[in-house]
Symmetry: D2
Subunit: 437 residues, 4 copies
């Protein structure tokens, strides 16, 4: 069965003057950028949950998407159609990766064992499709937030029975990820937080969470899983407050509980902005700690207070993000996963193509613009010169621990007031704009 | 005296490949766009208060800008230097307009009469500089928010004595605007609001405000002032809540108090976003009511909750705004005033040039992109087709008042369920991006 | 069948020292406050959708509430159980009113006629239960946002066919409200707005909406419906932007389209705060326009950006709200409807009692505190004195249209600077706190 | 000279029925609460900068407070009057502590040496007033944000010369704090952040900041300073982004740079809410890390996006905060400092009394309510029971490291699904409200 019959062939690259909504204007997978292909730089991934499982429901509205792959009677039949549709879509779109939660690809059964069996069956089918198409798993994860058993948290649930359930579930999700050669395994703690402090022992819950992560590390080691563990920060929603608030909070937690060596971060644009940071801020915090693992490439609406998970369409924003990525030397095991969904009104399957093409072109444009900035070197030189006073003299001494408050006072008594210097923000913003291809 | 000696000549247009931070990459004033020059389309204006009077103070910091024109001992000497600097800057930058508050160009005196005399003296000097340079006044206004007498409002002050003072002051500000041939007169009610409802009679204050505006209309008529009156909405800051919250609120107020014929709106980007609207939303609300008068072209930081008044640098946003302007048939008497200031750290006079060049290029780029969208016609056709069902049949009857709930129920009983239709948001966003020049 | 067997009798009033979570501490329905009973002042209403239909689903989670009344196989059987549960709950809780959407009490059928039949059947049953229990309908409304046919709006849909469907549906909802003696009929335009301006003709949509309201007025007149029409403002969610943004926007719309005589407002606390206003602000805006019709008494989380619809528990906030209500002379036809839901983790039926008791006590406390403030008169006297300058002299002349800018300038030349006066905000805030019972 | 002649004697406690705005209704310093006096529990402090130095300026308005102590010609004369006024105010109000920045109590001189001399002179006078009145220094700090030399940061300035200047200045501020017996020394990094990432090397700046703190620790040790070092988190304002974003971020930073042993946190209510957290959240984060050092007891406006620094007036919020403090065993060296200012319209000296009385009563009420909650024990018992499953059986094994993913899966296979449990949020919120005295 063909699920997207209107798209006959792989989406072509036609260049920026094309008006064809089913062609790339900027994303040319084979094009070399500083010695790597665009495909290698960007490692695009399609998100199983939004693209294939989303039904257009929202808090005020019923399902609105009537997908051909969702028509069968049983959950497992629907799961198989959905998986087939996913690989057909990814192949036609030309993305090299996909990501999933365990419950995205296989429905929950009557009991835990049946859920595990369902998962195992679907993993076998996914493995076959992967080797057939060459499409790979960027990361797997477990859905520990949808089922009401997790209403008060998974690892942080006040009921140890639920903790145990989550552990058992994650065991299988990691195993599935390993079986499919997943490059990473992600933890997003959608219910690891609280609704009200009135019923919450925060310290207890943090310790539970740390225990959970330590067991995950031990389990991964025991089975020889070599993918990278990632934590995905988000400040709130669905809970009032999530413990993995932002990159800095997660890094502090990992340090406190001696987990830093085993985890990197999966930074999502919309989660960063919900936490009060720009996308590039949280990317930078991860990068300067050596922990930028992967990216959920979406965008929120700055005037809305929830996770809108929209497809990126702003080349200025993607250029700012790709600057951090390029300076980080790329994303290692990671990639750009479109954790994004078409609006509920975009109810047609073709909108999935339009949306991903928009997102891929936007990031391709960001890559080209960022590389141009780096090649020109003007911005980097400006920043380097701005901190030059720390490369010699008193600055060098400060950074190398050879000064004290007393010696620095002496310096001031001898040298007086520093000169004012402009930070040239507006000049730099103007320059940045002029690099957007 | 030359205040900007580092800029010898008028800022040139050098085209998009130029790396010269003192040249325009997109703004070419003489270039024709759909039959009008860029200069005529954009009517750029420099804001006297930010560009020449701002000293870099912020709520946590002392003045940081040490301008050559602010060095004299007396207020009137400083005022004269500042005015000269303003015209030198505008001429070198190549903007055709400027805007001011009465107290920007002339200092407050010991008493009301002295303040009026100061203003009158400076207006004479400004008139001379206008005719010397050809630079014109886009709009004048009165500062009814800085002096502590207005702490509880001007027209909405609980003390009638303050109301009277504001009336007297505005009388002179309108007269000054007329004398200088100002195309518009703006009311921004920075203190017309409240700090707490506990001490406020909102209905009383709204009636005061309406009385004030009626007197302004009568005064303008009496002196033959033919400029356009504009109200500038802002939701908050400095007060907790301002009555002119947004475009829709102001229009409702004007309707309630029979003032609609005499006013249009001056929409500011950063004020719109503080009110929870996009810039283009408030432009559209003004436009569909026939009330889009002029624009304060700045931008806020979507992650900060105050009026940052930054220079625009995002070509996508300026394209969205210019689409509304072009479809409005332009701005009539109005223009694009840079109600924007360099950051406190951009402490050098040259930053004023960099900042305005960035803003002007950004809007020139927005104009070019918007015109390209209109020329192609694809977006407009899409929207037209989307509403086509109202041009004939039942839709036409609905709009022309020929249906009732009963007749429409009959229609449904005969015609059943409507078909789902995609709104194609992502496709349109992708298209919009591809038009950015 | 008894749905709440753990609650044997009507919830009693036990006074503020009670520790019984199933007793009122402040709400004593028979207690007289300024000549009216608490029940008459507060007119509490339970919201059918949240209290009986909510299943604990959220954007990241599956249904979590396993209600005894939701166990039957067919929609109509479930509807009947739900209706019975609702009246049992309302009677045990002791609320005099309830509110519903058409689709809350009767499921949508296979086609429009079947939906209408379902509704008519359930209305008959509701009528019987109303007369059995004495519980009355505060307001009815139509759900024009849940079904995907309304994804792009109901009255504002670009497809006239959908407009017609909405009209037909509202016809029956108004008739049902009339049949049940509903005191009001509410319009909440959850999808009357836009997702992106790129595909939207705002002017066209506003005109459609005005046409729709005019037809509603005509229809009501034709059937002799004497309830009050109410519009409920909300700024966003589910759409990016709703046309009924806030009280001021709706009033402006009603004025523009000559609808002002036929509508009042239903103000919701959480909607007001999402629009950037305090609850008491939007209540006041409605009140000073003579348009405060009814209240949705809930609360949002000031740190979350979506409609959390929580039960009120802050006596300071309810006192501020009740001050506006008491000064408005009460709510006329309206009441305090708990448009609020227990958190997803409060998954037990008993939580419905705890939550409503909390909300009712909070507003009873607010009523008592507000009445105490009014009885003492200190706050009102302060405000009256603050505006006293408008009762005589120049202030009186200003308000009665006997001044001009010229005559006010003359006043200033004679009287000089006004004296500074403190607004005493902190003193008033301290006083307000001290009135909280 | 007497600066507050209208207040003859110390503000008395008159009890909750008093209508005297110059009397306490709840704060009775000698009253015992669980074995300690209210004064000992609350350790109120007045903030030198807001209360005595604030002039009512705001970003849109000129100074509005015409204080008797600000009338002298020279800075040092004004400083002496201000200091005298401060001690008179604190004594009449009855607060045991005050806090200051170096530049609050002594003006900046022509050069660094003169600034140090000014400070030293004023410290001598403060010491005398302290011993005369018994009022003590809660904490001292240095103003590293007001002077334009710090526009791009102090410790994080790209110019090493500025770093040195900050070091020299802090040396003297710590020494002054020691000389006055200050119980704590606070670092608030108002300019330690960035305006744009385009000109910023975040990693470089963080390392600079760590070096600065290490030198501070070394200096304190060298002079035998035994007060507690505190860092005060704030997410933004004046800069776009501050490195000390919130409690979790600061703790992560201290861990990364091996500074954890030497610092605690000074949590400010308004800073917490600007970071997207409730006040009690950030208090709790500090407390569970053993780092709750002191509190800036103010409140923001949840609908405004800047630091409004208002006096607290909500007894529900202060009860939530005092619950954390009481469970923390108090604040150790710390106290409740009113980092709050009357609104600009509260321009009269008497407003300083009204405002502090409101704040002190609000926190006294919070203390009494929180103690009542603890004495009753119902809330604490609820929370303890909620986590009881971790005290025995599988839960105990989880926390003590005796489980693995495998053993937990075995547990699930044997025990199946956990039972749903209500979190009882609404019941708890209702209970909390009922404890407010």
């Amino acid at each position: 069965m063909e699920y997207f019959p209107k798209v006959k062939d792989k989406i072509p690259f036609e260049g920026k003057e094309s008006k064809n909504p089913l062609a790339f204007k900027y994303y040319n997978p084979e094009q070399l950028v500083d010695g790597k292909t665009m495909e290698e730089h960007l490692c695009f991934s399609v998100a199983f949950w939004h693209t294939f499982k989303s039904d257009g429901k929202d808090p005020f509205g019923d399902p609105a998407f009537n997908r051909p792959w969702m028509q069968s009677k049983t959950g497992m039949e629907r799961a198989e159609h959905t998986l087939n549709a996913a690989f057909e879509f990814a192949a036609k779109l030309g993305v090299p990766f996909y990501c999933f939660h365990d419950r995205d690809i296989a429905p929950e059964g009557e009991n835990f064992s049946e859920s595990c069996n369902n998962l195992e069956l679907m993993v076998k089918k996914a493995a076959a499709l992967q080797s057939e198409t060459g499409i790979q798993l960027l990361w797997g994860t477990a859905n520990l937030f949808g089922n009401p058993r997790y209403a008060h948290g998974a690892a942080t649930n006040p009921d140890a029975h639920v903790f145990a359930y989550a552990a058992a579930q994650v065991r299988h999700a990691i195993a599935a990820t390993q079986e499919l050669g997943g490059a990473n395994y992600v933890f997003w703690g959608g219910r690891e937080g609280y609704e009200t402090l009135l019923n919450t022992d925060m310290q207890h819950e943090e310790e539970q969470m740390a225990r959970f992560f330590h067991m995950a590390v031990e389990y991964a080691r025991s089975i020889g899983f070599e993918g990278q563990f990632l934590i995905e920060p988000k400040p709130k929603e669905p809970t009032k407050h999530q413990y993995d608030f932002d990159a800095a909070t997660v890094l502090g937690f990992l340090r406190r509980y001696d987990l830093l060596d085993h985890f990197k971060l999966n930074i999502e644009a919309n989660h960063a902005t919900l936490a009060g940071h720009s996308f590039e801020h949280d990317l930078t915090v991860a990068a300067i700690n050596g922990k930028l693992g992967s990216i959920d490439a979406n965008v929120g609406d700055p005037l809305l207070g929830w996770d809108t998970d929209q497809f990126p369409s702003d080349p200025l924003s993607s250029a700012r993000a790709m600057l951090v990525v390029l300076k980080n030397g790329g994303l290692g095991n990671g990639g750009l996963n479109f954790d994004a969904k078409p609006r509920r009104g975009s109810c047609d399957e073709m909108d999935l193509f339009y949306a991903h093409i928009c997102g891929m072109d936007t990031f391709a444009r960001g890559l080209l613009s960022a590389q141009k900035i780096i090649d020109d070197g003007i911005l980097d030189d400006f920043v380097k010169r701005r901190y030059a006073s720390y490369e010699t003299g008193i600055g060098r001494k400060i950074l190398t621990g050879k000064t004290s408050f007393e010696s620095l006072e002496k310096y001031i008594l001898e040298n007086g007031e520093p000169d004012p210097k402009s930070g040239r923000q507006e000049m730099l913003e103007g320059m940045l704009g002029s690099y957007i291809v």
